[in-house]
Amino acid sequence: MSSHLPLVNHVEKETTTLNLGPTHPATHGIFQNILEIDGERIVSAEQTVGYIHRAFEKLAERRPFYQITPLTDRMNYCSSPINNMGWHMTVEKLLGITIPKRAQYMRVIIMELARISDHLILNSILAVDTGAMTGFLYVMQEREKIYDIYEEICGARLTTNIGRIGGMERDFNDNAIKKIRQFLKEFPKVWAEFEKLVSRNRIFMDRTVGVGGISAERALSYGFTGVNLRAAGVDYDVRVMEPYSSYEDFQFDIPVGQHGDVYDRYCVAGQEVWESLKIITQAMDNLPNDSFHADTPEYYLPPKIEVYKNMEALIYHFKIVMGEIEMPVGEVYHKVEGGNGELGFYLVSDGGRTPYRLHFRRPCFIYYQAFPEIIYGATLSDAIVTMSSMNVIAGELDA
């Protein structure tokens, strides 16, 4: 980045203002960058966000806990199961529930699938933004297969609302297991092919190597997490540092880059897909055989058959659905490794049926503010590539 500085500082020219967004093909979602450009060099950038702000934090203050899950779906919609699980775990942490190993492993499988779907979109969209459309469609087929798996597990594809407080809503059925196995068998070929198509192509490398780099110090100062931080060389991963949901049981590496540039981000995300595949394989092979939900009838909906036959179950059913369960007073901060970084939930409960305060630490919102610094002095094309490699997702940006 510093290499461009002399060029920009020494020449005084008339600059042009260019509105990149709110609706521009490269802003995947709706947000705006007001760029000052001099020819094709960017001399300053200002972001405007909030175009799809939906006041989730305010809405969450009226919803019972279980109704907040659909809200989290709509944050990082490329990996909504991670958000769902993160929220469930936050509430479980508040309630002090530990869920059985099987449920934890199931969550790991779903979260890693979500991470794959997030990263493959990240990388293939990066390829699209550099002009290579075809690889994108090859891996998109695989994303559809991941969505098929979601559909088997929960019934929806994109906004999943998967799982429950206290476990999963249902066990993996045979179809789901078959589809996951098949995915594990077929996907590596597709991903290897995609990487072969894109990674070592000189045109792609020229576009990405040394573009949009950030040092580890600046990245930490900006609160980067996830792929962006690891690309800068810091091996911080919530899954390893503070394991949740039995992540300590699995063997996997943390891929890191060197300079935090676009190519590093691309490589780290690409490698993380391989690591996720490793985790899913281990989880599938060692899937324990106990229950898929915690044994906590006061928080976990009873099965329908009990509701019809059993008075207690009916009472619990009504209490849970109406949100009249006793919540402890307290506050928790729980974090998961989301698709693009540390996704945190800061929950303050006053014992009421709704959260007193719920704050989402949205990684995207925090690291996107570094964008003007990263692209300073770069060209317009670099800015586009940087933006898409940072995995800025408007839903998460604006919450």
Binding site: L18, G131, R207, T379, S388
Partner: protein, 351 residues
């Protein structure tokens, strides 16, 4: 000049014009279909069997779509832009030799509209004008993205014209003529014992490589589609265009593609020649040989159009400064080197 000559030429012009438009039209269909096939999809398949009526549907749609004229656009130039693009794209078909001549009832019917002795230079003249359509349209739209696209197009076209010209100079040295008819005729000689295989590609592989790269750049095709790259400049120079004016721009691109494929075929891949042309002529007669030659030329052209699309759906695109660097720092020195090499080759082998 006798009346038959003029009539023949007129018919030929109409036919060539129709063919290039038809090819361009079906190139749009081909692009979509081929893109689909490359991407594991089917492509358009609803309009007619296998979707072959799709270009008509597209054309109809473009004609009847609402015409949006930006308020602050420069009207005259806004309309002139696509027209110029279309005009220059169609002009260069005039000098392509589609075959030697047909013998119809004893009248020689030359399958080339104009055999000008500056043939190659004519192409460069027309091609160098092609950029005006893009520039004027981009500027007149009064949109910053369009302007950026126009500027990129202009500098890209000028830069790559140079390398293209230099790469062709080696070819001219080899053939000793600027006339395309002459170049085609030269390639009809025999090589490896096969008549009609004396193609320039065997003598000028490096020149061809430079030429094809420059042809990609001149047609604004991926990996050189910076003037219209969607992810950066929305639509580039045609961001503000709608309905048939947009159609003209897109159409001009496909005609350009057709024309440059034709030139690649004529200059480097033997034009209407094919292996065994003398054998066919001796056994089946002149007209049959010419018609097969025409088919061969079209096969070559279609292959190159396919190749254009194939590359487009495979590679990423360059960045602006990398594009300039490739053009000025790699291709031009390489082309000069190619000229030197050719010169040395001619000195060594021709004597």
């Amino acid at each position: 000049m006798d009346i038959y000559f003029i009539l023949g030429k007129l018919i030929l012009i109409v036919i060539i014009f129709a063919i290039s438009l038809l090819t361009a039209m079906y190139s749009t269909y081909g692009e979509r279909k081929i893109a689909g096939f490359f991407q594991d999809r089917l492509g358009p398949d609803r309009a007619g069997p296998w979707g072959i009526l799709q270009p008509l549907a597209d054309g109809g749609k473009l004609f009847f779509k609402e015409e949006i004229l930006p308020v602050n656009a420069n009207m005259a130039l806004f309309i002139a832009g696509p027209s110029l693009s279309m005009l220059t794209a169609c002009m260069s078909t005039a000098i392509i030799p589609w075959g030697t001549y047909l013998d119809i009832f004893g009248t020689k019917f030359v399958l080339q509209v104009a055999d000008v002795n500056i043939g190659l230079l004519y192409i460069f003249g027309v091609v160098s004008l092609g950029v005006y359509g893009v520039m004027i349209g981009g500027w007149a739209s009064n949109n910053k993205y369009s302007l950026l696209g126009a500027v990129r197009a202009a500098s890209q076209n000028i830069s790559y014209e140079l390398a293209m010209g230099l790469s062709v100079i080696a070819l001219i040295m080899l053939n000793g003529s600027l006339s395309l008819a002459e170049i085609s005729r030269n390639q009809g000689e025999s090589l490896f014992g096969l008549s009609g295989l004396n193609w320039n590609i065997f003598y000028q592989p490096l020149g061809f490589l430079i030429f094809i790269v420059c042809a990609f750049a001149e047609c604004n095709r991926t990996p050189f589609d910076l003037p219209e790259c969607e992810t950066e400049l929305v639509g580039g120079y045609h961001t503000e265009y709608s309905s048939m004016k947009l159609g003209f721009y897109l159409f001009a691109e496909y005609i350009n593609m057709f024309v440059s494929s034709a030139f690649m075929a004529v200059l480097y891949f033997g034009g209407y020649n094919y292996p065994g042309i003398n054998f066919v002529e001796a056994n089946l007669g002149h007209n049959a040989a010419v018609i097969i030659g025409l088919a061969a030329l079209f096969a070559k052209i279609l292959f190159f159009i396919f190749f254009f699309m194939w590359v487009r759906w495979t590679v990423p695109r360059f960045r602006y400064d990398q594009l300039m660097k490739l053009g000025w720092q790699i291709l031009i020195p390489l082309a000069i080197f190619n000229i030197l090499l050719t010169g040395v080759g001619i000195m060594l082998f021709d004597n």
